[in-house]
Symmetry: C2
Subunit: 156 residues, 2 copies
């Protein structure tokens, strides 16, 4: 039996365009795909409703906005109780310096990507925010010297 909600090549082509440039007009996409506006418009609306498109965002320049320090911070918990882990995940959501947080397989429990304006701000974050979370064990930071590549686009 076939999946009736599966995407065809047209849907995928639309998604590939929008994840690179969300400002492309329906008209532009339509002419690129040799379609009229209506089907493209309907497909986009469906992709939004079905959750394939989660949101539309502006990507800002962190250098111009004076946030030059990016680090990856490996964090381990002291004890691996369900409650402690859930608490950690809730706390991390609050910290706006944290751009990413992944629960990892392997030696280390969590990997955080953190962006701040200065070394002093980073020290503040580790000392007064991260370390204050209950049951935090070791944390180990490595600094980004240069961002070589970064994209939110998926390869599909």
């Amino acid at each position: 039996m076939e999946n009736l909600n599966a995407l065809d090549e047209t849907d995928r082509a639309i998604l590939r365009v929008l994840q690179q440039d969300a400002k492309k007009t329906t008209k532009e996409i339509a002419s690129q795909l040799n379609l009229s506006i209506s089907p493209v418009y309907e497909r986009i609306r469906k992709l939004e409703q079905q959750g394939y498109i989660k949101k539309y965002v502006a990507i800002l320049d962190q250098k111009l906005l004076k946030r030059p320090i990016t680090t990856f911070c490996q964090v381990s918990m002291r004890y691996h109780n369900e409650a402690f882990i859930e608490n950690f995940e809730r706390e991390i959501q609050q910290f706006e310096e944290v751009q990413e947080c992944c629960h990892m397989a392997g030696q280390v429990d969590f990997l955080l990507k953190i962006n701040v304006e200065s070394l002093e701000a980073y020290h503040d974050f580790v000392r007064h925010k991260l370390s204050k979370i209950e049951n935090i064990g070791v944390s180990n930071s490595t600094f980004v010297l240069k961002e070589i590549k970064r994209t939110s686009a998926l390869y599909f």
Copy 2:
């Protein structure tokens, strides 16, 4: 002497809105800031031209698009010649599986974030793409069990 290109609070407020939701209309932002449409429109255009806004993108759902495997891969070079490093950075740009690549301080040279559809695809990537780059030394992968948080928004 003051920086004439510095952002005021209105500019920053606009950027904070757009990095969360790029579909907000100029009208909506204007009423939120108690301004009329024109100044908000002009400010956004300026922020785009000056590079504060780099681009607008759609964020897609990687689960729905069947790309469930995310890993972080630490890579070290065998020798640290300028030429080898530049070559590595150029090659990495090509690989669409690579969402992020940072040149790091510390033991490891590069940290890569990679997203693929399956373990087999990941094996293919490491074996036939990453390992084929000239002068690659050790590589060490850790798998993401769960994404706790992810945002492209800057905290400023």
